[in-house]
């Protein structure tokens, strides 16, 4: 997993509440058995005027000119500014994969759906929760200023605006440690393999029925 320390990136808007994972990456793209290549289909139904299909060449599809990610000013954006309950709906990890593949490393919103929030950390994306009023301010500032950038300093846990305002944010220590060091969760957990084995042997005595083999 790639490490996340300091990011200085263009901000793009997703200015509606309850953006669900179906909207982030429509289900027809879930059929892939790969982990990469979902970027061109991020927000597919909003971004294009036709219906997206896996394997369809997105560079030849009609763009929805009213959708901000298609505006020249937001090209190369790495930070997505969003509203309440971002990432609700199904647990598909393709949602953070699509965001990441598109180039986003950070999403800022007043609130996130639980599963999506967790999935972000596992894929090198930093989800930042800021108060709704602060997010509203950022939206206003971003709309007013073409090429608006924010600096995200994860070690210092601050968002720094072009005006120099430093906005603190909370992040779970463990998640932060993993992101900053690009550590994969499994490797970390396997450091506790002895504890897992000890738990398992206790469980085998207490609830032996959980360990019966079944004939298929």
């Amino acid at each position: 997993m790639k490490a996340f320390t300091v990011l200085d990136g263009i901000v793009a808007p997703m200015d509606r509440a309850n953006v669900d994972t179906d909207m982030i990456i429509p289900k027809q793209f879930l059929k892939s058995i790969k982990r990469s290549g979902f970027g061109p289909n991020l927000f597919d139904e909003l971004r294009y005027l036709d219906e997206g299909q896996p394997g369809k060449d997105c560079s030849k599809r009609p763009l929805n000119k009213d959708f901000p990610l298609n505006f020249p000013r937001y090209q190369g954006a790495e930070i997505l500014l969003a509203r309440e309950n971002f990432g609700c709906g199904s647990s598909r990890e393709h949602a953070p994969w699509a965001l990441e593949d598109y180039g986003f490393s950070c999403v800022i919103a007043p609130s996130f759906a639980d599963i999506f929030f967790n999935n972000c950390f596992k894929n090198g994306i930093l989800p930042i929760i800021l108060p709704a009023a602060k997010v509203a301010e950022l939206f206003t500032a971003m709309y007013a200023d073409e090429g608006y950038k924010l600096k995200i300093d994860l070690p210092a846990q601050t968002v720094i605006t072009p005006a120099g305002e430093s906005i603190p944010f909370e992040v779970d220590e463990f998640r932060k440690h993993c992101l900053v060091n690009g550590l994969d969760d499994i490797g970390l957990t396997l450091q506790d393999a002895d504890d897992i084995r000890a738990y398992e042997s206790k469980l085998m005595t207490k609830s032996p029925w959980l360990f019966r083999e079944h004939i298929a």
Binding site: K27, E84, C88, I115, N118, D195, S207, F211, E213
Partner: protein
């Protein structure tokens, strides 16, 4: 001197009294009862970390073809193997074809190439890693959330996870069950554990009794209508109260299934006789002496009477009418006698624009009666409502009637091969077919339209599934979530009707 002594004695007595009060308070806190969720959590705790996260042991991992390929790919890339192979059980469900002809040819006959690759990849991965799989035409195949309980592969007291957000379904058995993402699928495969943070406790109590024709689906839609789609975020929900206690396991599964639509990853119901009767004799369930031992433990799986919940929501069963969603979020729901709302009904600007957008997408206008919504298709199925009881309910409504002319297609898709077999043994398939509904092979089908079953743009569908998001059942499709009985009645009438008038 005498006075001083008295003062001293009184002082001593006060101190003693204070001490006792403090001790009692401390004891109260320590002994405050545990919720069902607290108990399940504590029983699976491998290790707590300093940062408040915990390593939680996973007893059962259910695997399907959509969220697992990348996890297996990850295992292979890292040279890892499953920690405990027998804890896993797999079945393809999301994109298996449901038409008998296409289905009969097995994996290689799946017309859609991408679907075929996914189902084939699941077979290959299960073979390679030695995981038990009920493959496409095994009679035990079906939607994971139907198959798990049906096989006794999910049991009370277990932690159950699956790369699918409707995993809370299994909480109906008194298990701690929730959906996970693909990298967590890989994590569970490799370590049999998950890194978790404990949720808060919410009790949703449904008191009293349900009226005739009102089902578990109506209850859960009413709950979501009340708490909203984010109302349960951060909580594990326990469903309790007389209404829940009287529900069958199928009904409880329907309710827990949609916990996620209320924002909660976990939904649960305490273990009682209904639970034990359901589990007893299932293929993966313990038997003989082990059964007795298990039951002794399972009997403890309920919230203590003095357990403290962080939030409690109460509904009265008698107030719940058959429900229909009118919008593009499960919280946009109304009783059957309802009137489609107007954006001006909302003061919150986000809600107002949400309503506006939903009306436009759904092609509805404010003030329209729910019963005036005409239907193009009907879907009876999904992990919410594809169990035998659901099919019986629907069959009872359509028996001897005919699907309305304006309904292009009404699908009935059983949740598993065994549900299908049971339904056929009861003659339900004939009732459906005679009424003009289509009887299909088991799978997720039109719940998410990953296979060939989908809505056309602009089509209205009465669906027993769990999500009515834009495009969920097909590009531009308009989903109305309802109970099986309501979907069946709508199929016959061609528009929504109050099924209570039909029984």
């Amino acid at each position: 001197m005498k006075n001083m002594n008295l003062c001293y004695l009184m002082w001593l007595r006060n101190i003693a009294a204070l001490k006792i009060t403090l001790l009692v308070r401390m004891a109260e806190r320590d002994m405050a009862g545990q919720t069902l969720y607290d108990k399940l959590w504590a029983a699976h705790l491998v290790k707590e970390r300093d940062d408040g996260t915990a390593l939680l042991y996973i007893d059962r991992h259910l695997v399907h073809e959509v969220t697992s390929p990348q996890a297996f790919e990850g295992l292979r890339l890292a040279g890892r193997s499953p920690w405990r192979v027998t804890a896993n059980l797999a079945t393809p469900d999301h994109n298996v074809p449901t038409e008998a002809v296409e289905r009969s040819g097995g994996v290689e006959a799946i017309a859609d190439e991408v679907s075929r690759i996914q189902v084939r990849t699941l077979d290959e991965n299960c073979n390679e890693f030695g995981i038990t799989e009920f493959s496409i035409n095994d009679v035990r195949q079906g939607i994971v959330h139907v198959v798990g309980p049906e096989q006794g592969a999910t049991l009370p007291g277990m932690t159950v996870v699956c790369g699918d957000s409707h995993t809370a379904t299994h909480g109906a058995l008194g298990a701690l069950a929730h959906g996970i993402g693909t990298s967590e699928v890989e994590h569970v495969l490799a370590t049999q554990c998950l890194i978790q943070k404990k949720s808060k406790n919410m009790l949703v109590r449904v008191d009293g009794e349900l009226g005739p024709g009102v089902t578990a689906k109506d209850v859960v839609l009413a709950i979501i209508g009340k708490i909203g789609t984010a109302g349960g975020t951060g909580y594990a929900i326990e469903f309790g109260g007389d209404v829940i206690r009287k529900l069958s396991m199928e009904g409880r599964m329907t309710i827990c299934n949609m916990a996620i639509e209320g924002g909660a990853r976990v939904g649960m119901v305490a273990v009682d006789d209904i639970t034990l009767d359901y589990v007893n004799g299932r293929p993966f369930a313990p038997s003989a002496a082990e059964w007795d031992e298990a039951v002794k433990y399972w009997r403890t799986l309920h919230s203590d009477s003095d357990a403290v919940f962080d939030a409690t929501v109460v509904l009265n069963g008698a107030d719940i009418l058959p429900q229909v969603t009118w919008g593009t979020s499960p919280e946009m729901v109304l009783p059957i006698n309802g009137i489609v709302p107007s954006p001006t009904d909302y003061t919150d600007p986000a809600k107002r624009s949400g309503c506006e957008r939903a009306l436009e997408y759904m092609g509805l206008s404010a003030g329209q009666a729910i019963t005036d919504i005409k239907l193009d298709r009907v879907f009876i199925g999904s992990c919410t409502n594809s169990r035998i009881e659901d099919l019986r309910e629907a069959a009872a409504v359509v028996r001897g009637k005919k699907v309305a002319a304006n309904v292009k297609e009404a699908l009935v898709v059983p949740g598993s091969g065994l549900v299908k077999k049971q339904a056929e043994a009861e003659g339900l398939d004939k009732i459906f077919i005679e009424a003009g509904l289509l009887w299909r092979e088991p799978g997720c089908s039109m719940c998410l339209a990953m296979n060939a079953d989908k809505l056309g743009a602009g089509e209205h569908c009465a669906s027993t599934s769990n999500r009515n998001f834009e495009g969920r059942q097909g590009f531009g499709g308009r989903t109305h979530l309802v109970s099986p009985a309501m979907a069946a009645a709508a199929a016959i009438a061609g528009h929504f009707v109050d099924v209570r008038d039909w029984i």
